[in-house]
Structures are given as structure tokens and as C-alpha cells.
Amino acid sequence: MNSSDIVFMFVSTSFVMFMIIGLALFYGGLVRARNILSIIAQCMICIGLVTIIWILYGYSLVFGSDVFGFIGNLDFLFLKNVGQDAGPHADNIPHILFCMFQLMFAAITPALITGAFAERMKFKAFILFTFLWSTFVYFPIAHWVWGGGWIGTHGGLDFAGGTVIHINSAVAALAGAIAVGKRKGWPVEQIKPHNLGVTFLGAGILWLGWFGFNSGSALAANGVAMNAFFVTQIAASASALSWMAVEWKIHGKPTVLGLASGAVAGLVAITPASGFVSAFPALLIGLVAGVVCFYAVGLKARFKYDDSLDVVAIHGVGGLWGALATGLFASLEVNPSGADGLFYGNPSLFVIQLADNAAVIVYSMIVSLIIFKIVDLLIGLKVSPEEENAGLDISLHGEKAYN
């Protein structure tokens, strides 16, 4: 037990919790005024519901002893053996603290997905979806990477969740955008963000929280953690600027939404790499992230899926770029318990990253689609056109955000 590490993980965990609040604001500002509360409600469900299923069985499925490389066993069911003493996954902090840090990751992941079907999904359907998706998609994949499953053991690197969280949620987002269908009027009507100040505040909270997200993934207040801290700042800054630059060039004006989106894209891209790459690779990862994610936003128009808040473009494309960049730029000098990447003489890491992420994408896509299908059959996914017109806040929650 190390009391500095306890403080460090306490702070990091708190920051990640705060990210979910930030995410609700980031998304909430981007929808129309009549739907902001529906976004917030979904994010609160992610916090509330995932917390409960996590302590009941989720933590055990992810971090219980490995079963066939696929899932954890029931050692920690109902928090059995999870107490104030250190647990098997981190000998420096109380088991409950490790459990809680990991909980925050489990909670934020379905919240990320909500951006894809914003402004039209039934609340009841979302609750059921969150329950099923956490259980059958998030828990297995988190186990694969961090819980002793096949990806982690055969050498795939994902420092803070590029694959587990961002790619995974973006794949589910794509499935959701397709399954739930388009918003009324999209893409013809002008559907504009209703409060970009709120979106900026959300992005700011996300940025702050990401320090805990990435650094905390070192599980100790050491040099690797501080490396993650440093490169997170660099990649986010670089990506904000590069998104702005390309947008300025193409649309003639640099927008705040572009700067904020770029920052988030950079934060996403550096996530898997943050404990393995140094400052200048991080700069490059950020610069590229801003550009590719900017262009990726155009995909939805081309392929006609209404990914309302661009989860696929930012978390999917950004996350994938980050995962592959980890295969390129990872360095044992930064983190001796990591690996060298392609540019440090080890092409195999890149191949592993490619293969792992492909597997996650396929698994997540198939199971997410099945889950959406089931929810559709049981409850239906989309609100009625009248409810959509009136706004989900009034229709589903009987409230208006602004009076």
C-alpha cells in the first residue's frame, strides 16, 4: 500500500467521474434546446445503473480470474473479497479504490455512445440497452484488454482505453445510428447546437478529467503517469489547432466547435498511447488526429447515417488512429513494461494492434446490433414523430430545461 498512490487514484477517479458530467454538458450543448435534458438523463443512467451492476457482477466479470481469455469469473461477485486491502490487480491501493477507478471507465463508455442517437431514442430503451451493452460488450472487452484476457496477455497495448472505450463505443454508436434511424429532417433541415458555451464548458471538464483518465491508468504516481499527463496536454493542444487549421482553410472560418472537437479528438487519440509514447510522437498524434477526425465527420453525409454528435468520427476514427499510432510510436524508454513500436524497430506491435482492434470492432458491432435488435423488439428504439417534434425533454421527461 502506498498512500501517495491512494491520493493519486482518488483524484484520478474523481476526475473521471467529473468527465461524465462534462460529457453530458458537451453533448447537451450540441443538441437543440428541447433535448438537452434527455442527454443529461442518459448520462445519469450511465453513472447510476452502471455503478449498481458493477458492484453486483460487472467488476467480477472484468477483473475476476480469467476464464478462457474471454471473461472474468465470479470471484468478486457482489464485491466478495473486495475490501480496503489491496487486490490482485494493484498491490499499492485498496481493492475498492481500484474497483471504483475501473467503474468510472465502465460508466463513461455507454455515455459516449449516446451522442450517436441523440434527440430521438426512447429513454426506456436506452436503459435496457445500457444494461445489456455493458454486460455483453463492455465487460468482456474490458476483460480482454485489462482483466487478464487474450488481448492483454498476448501483448496488445491500450494504456487508458482507446480500444476498450473509444473504439468500442464508436462501433456501438455506428450500430445505434443505423438501428435507431435518422432524426426528422436530417440532413436537410438545419439542426444546430443550442448552446456552444455549455459545449465548451463540457469540453473543458473533459480535458481536465482526461488527465485523471490517462495518468490514473498508470495506477501509481510515477514517471509513466506523468508522461501520460504531459502527452495528453500536448496531443489535445495539437489536435485543437490542426482541426482549426483545416477547417479554416476549407470553410473559411475557424470555429470554437472545431477547436473543442479537435481537442477531444486529440484526447481520444492519445488515450491508448499516453503511457507509451513521448512528447513529440504525441505532438504528431495530435496533429494528425485533428485532421483525420475533421474529415471523418464528412463520412456520415456520404454514407447517410445520422451519427448526430459525431461519435464515430471522433471516438472511432480518433481512437483507431491512436491505437495504430501506439503500434508505431510506443517506446520501451518511455515505459519499460510496454513495448517498442514500429518506428522503434518492432513492427510486430503494429500488427498486433491492427488485429486486436479489428477483433474488437467485429465483436462490438455484431453484439451491439443484436442488442439494439432485441431492445427494438421489446420496447422499440425510437420515439414517435410527435414526441420528436415536441422534444424529448417534454415528451419523455415532462420537463423543459429553460423556462
Partner: protein, 112 residues
């Protein structure tokens, strides 16, 4: 000249604007209003207290136009704004004595 005021459902504004454009009516002034009528309001809930909200968000369009275009315009607005549900709104026509364009000082039909 006449003034048309149409109170319609907010999400029909673009349709009405397009429809008017097509018959060459291109000036209008729009404001957000709240309507009260037969259309039932909705229920709101705040900490357990239930409120029935009678006022429904509507959009009001004001159009000044030549008298001989009124009939056509009213028809077009009706068609574009209709959803066949209660609360689709109303169109009011009233007399207008004078119009002046601020920029040029042109008056009446030249000012439209």
C-alpha cells in the same frame, strides 16, 4: 395593402417560407410567440409537482403585401402549415395603410 399574420407550428416555418418564396413573396418578419387555444398543453413535472402548461410554442409570421395577393398567400400558407392536427394555427388579415422602406424612403407597393 394588407398585413397577413399567421400563427403556426414552429417546425412548419421553413416550409411556409419556401412556399411563399415560390410564389414570389420574399419579405416577412417572424417572432416567437406562445399560443393558447384548443390544442391541449402538456404536463410538466418538477419535484413531484405536476403543472399543466396551456401555452404552446408557436411562430408568428407577419407579411405586408399587395391586397390582390392576399388570397393566394393565405392559401399557400394554409397548405404549407397544415398537419391536420389541432393547433395548426390561424391566419389573420388586416388593413395596412402605408409602408415605407427605411433605406430608400420608397413607399407602399414600391417598399415591399
Amino acid at each position: 395593402m394588407k398585413k397577413i399574420e399567421a400563427v403556426i407550428k414552429p417546425f412548419k416555418l421553413d416550409d411556409v417560407k419556401e412556399a411563399l418564396n415560390e410564389i414570389g413573396i420574399q419579405g416577412m418578419t417572424v417572432s416567437e410567440v406562445k399560443g393558447y387555444g384548443r390544442q391541449k398543453g402538456h404536463k410538466e413535472i418538477y419535484r413531484g409537482a405536476e403543472y399543466v402548461v396551456d401555452f404552446v410554442p408557436k411562430v408568428k409570421i407577419e407579411i405586408a403585401l399587395k391586397s390582390d395577393r392576399v388570397e393566394e398567400a393565405v392559401k399557400i400558407i394554409r397548405e404549407a402549415a397544415k398537419t391536420d392536427n389541432i393547433g395548426d394555427g390561424k391566419i389573420f388579415v388586416s388593413p395596412l395603410e402605408k409602408v415605407v422602406r427605411v433605406r430608400t424612403g420608397e413607399t407602399d407597393e414600391d417598399a415591399l
